[in-house]
Symmetry: D2
């Protein structure tokens, strides 16, 4: 299911501390009340994220590899199991927001308890245990990073549904006005390419099954679609004209009365949008975000272009992204996408916004599930979802790579998703 | 809509302080997290109750009668209006549990602000303003008492849905085992009786329109149906035998798989029930509670008896209940019904449990709505609901009387409702 | 459950033939295709009515009292049982419109088979069997008359949902324009009255338990509310002003976007309505029909009046309706209400339109269910429904009387229901 | 959108007559009542299919190319438009079963009217009009063949939901017992292949955009999965073991209580299935059918195999299927799949059963929609559906080819779908 992690214990210990602390840092600006609610099924209460990521280590590491470990509370397995049928029954997903207990303080005690036992395990476990557990710990850390991203997107959603429109962070100093950049279509040569992860570091099982694909020549836009461009689509009745849309998308948009991306609000005829810093004016040069696949695809049709496949995207990413990662990731604490970066040939392929592809999330040839409960991690979701690539401003920098496959149903809008055009 | 209150200002001021403080006392054992959630639409978050009762005074007293009053927050009218169309749009009832802000602390600040201005108003307002406002203040206090009862029943529901089954109060000292009492049917003479409120104190508009009704001779049970009796119904397949049930009741019971009253849990073949003191053994001599009208009526049919009409109940209450109220009310802090009281001819007509009647909640002849927003208080609910009489262990003692009409849909189970038989 | 029928066998035989034939006459103008569909759950396919009324005689008469009787088809009990749990499982009500078989011809064969055996039974059964069966046969005939009314209302609904708006009968000769009549409020004296059926003929169990009620003096309108009056309510924003409405009614009206009675269509700014003779202009002097209780009650509030209770209605009916029935019943074949009749002191109390009362459908004191399956006939519906009185233009003349209690949920509109005002 | 049809007018005329007549032949065994109902949204009433296919010719041919053509009825466009937004509003899909009119006879008159005008057009239209219309007529015929298949599957569903389980055709003479055949995995060589339609005949727009794909070596089963094999999966708790299933599939199977393929019924511990000839014993050697993608995929996982991609399937089909089509198609009138054919290397790739692939229905590179309403034909469905290949026993023989792409949502079971394994 995953390759051997970079196993030097000191590093793992350090990374464990760092990543676990980062999760709590993200929750620091919240009231206890904010950590309880679940306004829609897709969104989980922050309290739940804090506990569930600890449950992962307790269940898959400490209970497996640390002899004599006693769980913090016998019912937490029922409360904080997300979807692992192998691990037993659990609170229904849509009921997470009805649970006031354990309270936030108790959950921090749970985290401290698990952290302490994990540190002890990392410090004292026999080499053999450690070697066996290392890949699972690594998976737990990657899993926690995924929940860091979800924490950001879920907190944003929670605050956005509140009529008081509270800001997660106090108003941010106004950045220098961004300048438009010339959009361009970059050529990529067709042929048979290799797809999937081949390196020495960590990857998810869904990136494996390295295989060849044939693609034709294609061209990729050197920057993401901007708010300004999307406004033109809106002003051209883009949301009302069925000809741009997939049938199920148009039906949904009509029924839900979509008129703009999620979080956009029109006040006195001016479009604003809700951000982690509260309601703000829209920057026309910044990339448009919080779109469903349906909207992304409708825009592409309207523009006479198309979305990329996930294979084209991966090929382009390898071609245009230099070794060293730079970009707008979780650690930048922007919690919002930035305008195109003029230093990059193809701006923001990694970071900034997840890019919808016109590829369904299916197994690669040669995909195989891990044995046991961890085999439920990725494989069982391989239907009805579309692949997104590249990470976003809510993705930890160390979590993303060219081969990373994210996936959501085509109607979802609350992630930091954007549009990359091709032709 | 309501009779002039006992208007001596000192009394009103004292009652204002007392009742407002009692609401907060009820919330003291809760975590902030407990005050946010809404597991079903019927239940409101405690935070919401705390704010809504303050909004009532702010909207109907301070904004009307206190010149220059400035509202605490301009959006609270949208957040904490319950159902007054006259007062404008509001958060949908089923969305109350998605709102984390304002946090609990902020709501206590809101309460303090309203209290302070109310006290100032009561101390300094011109006689004329005071006289006009007094009935509305009285209504606000009665309204707050109603929400005290709802706080108790909603808190019980919230805690009950949590897999940890947390107790509202630490385990209560075991009371002395209760003894069964001989049930008896008491005779009441038929004839033309007067129904409705005629006194000098406060009453709701739905008790007015004093009028005559004719009833035949009837007999009323001198005590409520007990857990032990209800267990016999259950053991006699009472929940499975459609012949005892109203059609819509049986359909619901089947669909919801009702096997016992709400809060009953069978563990290792033993029935327990969830109480405000956590999971407890069932006392066979205590009255059965948390039943829908459907279950109450099915039980009565099974027992070869029937429920009372609300008129029979009121006539019996006047006949059997002595002047001085005594009983099991909110202030007793039992938060649970007690076994029959041998000192009373007809035990617990007032307090202990609301008693379902086989009367729909309709207007009395001569009923008229108050003008303006307060006219929405009672009249618009006069359809599809059944009348309950007598108050419960969650009702403030000063809130109940023989003519008081409570009402719920026949499927509701989360109130402290019980069964009084007649024939 | 019912009083001994007028038992002279010849009469019963004649009535059996007549009523059974009348049912088929009603279906004659239909295509086979019309008899299959079920556009809403309330409406049953005509084919189903034809079969179900036969199933009643087969199940409750022939199988009980005719030795050696063989059912027409072993599965028809499953197909055509309406709601008798005692008789076993059955096709779900909302699935009736999915059944193409048995075809209409087959169902007519079923009717002929049952008729033949019933006639044989009536002609040849021993006196004792006949005497026992007579009340059940009478009930079967009354039951068939009820389904005749439902056939009319269901056919109207079925045709109305078809975009072709087909007429049940070819366009009717235009009647002479009706003249308005002076509305008046007639006085009725209060006091203790006797309610319920006491005669020698047939009545339903829900009319029994003759008992006394006290009513105050009241006044009753001498005619039904007209289309013209209801238009004024509409033009005065009656559907938009919550103050006239019960809460649940207003919520429903808003959600369903009710703007007018059922079957009214606005074309080029002119209101028409769909009738059994197709789309027609509205006669302002004819009574308004196809209203829910909510609309009837909102109109009454708007008009500063109220609806009657079922007791007031019965008292008034006894006072104002002469012995001999006359009026607009099923046999008149108008299938629509007529303008007020100037010859009657209080016009159209019987026939024309069912009149919503503000009384819930509850058991009379002393109500008792018949033993066995027929006990499911009326009693189990005594919740959540409102009483309507007086019969309509779709009611067989011999079926109605002053004590007759019809009942529907307060949101139902497809019956021939109207408004009688009181004060 | 489509290639020029084989345009010789005589042939087209003959094909027009033949295909139109074949549609009516399929409806001949039905009662008028059978043609009205719609037990689930996926299924359309046969009456609707008969009319809709005529509407296609009326709307896209006669109204476009035949000057002076008058439509049969002005409302039929509203009634029989399926999903073409360009052509205007229409009856909601889920309301098709509520329409009794126009009756079946009227619809046959509609067909005759359209046929007559089409024949006249084909006989007399100027060459230029004919040349322009020919591809649209061809598309109309292909469209009618698609509805022939749907007629078969929809009739089967309609009859199956009837408790009488009526047969479409009288019981068929028992065929000779089929013998099992040795299953085998056939090798196919990997490499870059060309995918899509390149011939001179008709194809749909979704087959165009011929392009190259790379596939690895793979092996394909020489026959479909049989009922006997699927029974083993069932007996091995295949429906209960989440490990074989995609998450959304398992959730659905659990919720819908799937225990066997659609149409299987267990009576006295024996599995039978409903067929077009009524309820019949299951032939263990015949292929299993009426499965969702979820079940097909779960079976493949259980068997340690996988489904093919649509590209692998097309490559295999070209390799193994000889020029001349033979097989079990609509014209064979079996209306059921046959056991494997020992004469074929790879049995029944074409005909018998549609084969689920693990490929989403997406546009080929270079796909482009036709202008105007016909552009809505295929493109707007390219989301959330899986591709099926090869045609079935309900597919007209002249309608299928190696490149044909059918598509359904992964939960659909009422088509003649089956399982082809690969590894």
């Amino acid at each position: 299911m995953l390759l051997p992690a970079e196993t030097a214990t000191p590093t793992l210990t350090a990374r464990f501390s760092g990543i676990r602390a980062q999760t709590e840092d993200l929750c620091r600006p919240l009231l206890p009340e904010d950590t309880v609610v679940q306004p829609i099924v897709d969104v989980s209460p922050p309290k739940w994220h804090l506990a569930h990521t600890s449950w992962f280590f307790e269940t898959f590491v400490l209970q497996q590899y640390q002899p004599g470990y006693r769980v913090f509370h016998p019912k937490y397995n029922f409360l904080f199991n997300s979807y692992y049928n192998s691990i037993g029954s659990r609170v229904l997903r849509n009921q997470r927001g009805t649970l006031s207990r354990p309270g936030l303080d108790e959950i921090y005690r749970y985290r401290a308890y698990v952290n302490e036992h994990m540190q002890e395990f990392l410090a004292t476990a026999p080499e053999k245990n450690l070697a066996e557990a290392a890949p699972v710990i690594e998976l737990g850390l990657q899993h926690e990073q995924q929940h860091q991203e979800l924490l950001v997107t879920d907190i944003k959603y929670i605050l956005s549904t509140n009529p008081l429109l509270p800001a997660y962070l106090p108003e941010k100093p106004k950045t220098v006005a961004s300048a438009p950049r010339n959009p361009d279509m970059l050529q990529v040569k067709g042929g048979v390419y290799e797809i999937g992860y081949k390196g020495q570091g960590f990857c998810f099982d869904n990136e494996l099954g390295v295989h060849q694909v044939y693609v034709d020549d294609f061209r990729i836009r050197n920057q993401l679609v901007t708010n300004g461009e999307f406004l033109q689509f809106m002003q051209d009745s883009g949301y009302q004209d069925f000809r741009h849309w997939l049938g199920e998308g148009f039906e949904l948009a009509t029924q839900e009365q979509w008129q703009a991306p999620l979080y956009w609000l029109k006040t006195d005829d001016v479009w604003q949008h809700f951000t982690m810093h509260g309601l703000q004016e829209i920057d026309l040069n910044a990339p448009v975000t919080h779109l469903s696949f349906y909207e992304a695809n409708a825009f592409a049709n309207w523009a006479g272009k198309r979305l990329l496949t996930e294979f084209e995207w991966e090929i382009a990413c390898r071609e245009f992204v230099p070794e060293v990662k730079k970009g707008n990731f979780l650690e930048s604490q922007n919690f919002a996408p930035l305008p195109a970066d003029n230093d990059e040939t193809c701006s923001h392929l990694l970071g900034n916004l997840w890019e919808w592809t016109y590829s369904s999330y299916h197994p690669y040839p040669g995909f195989s599930k891990a044995p046991g409960a961890l085999g439920e991690y990725n494989g069982k979701f391989m239907i009805n979802q579309m692949v997104l690539r590249g990470g976003s401003c809510a993705t930890p920098a160390s979590h993303i790579r060219a081969t990373y496959r994210n996936f959501f149903h085509p109607d979802k809008r609350w992630q930091f998703s954007g549009i990359r055009l091709a032709e």
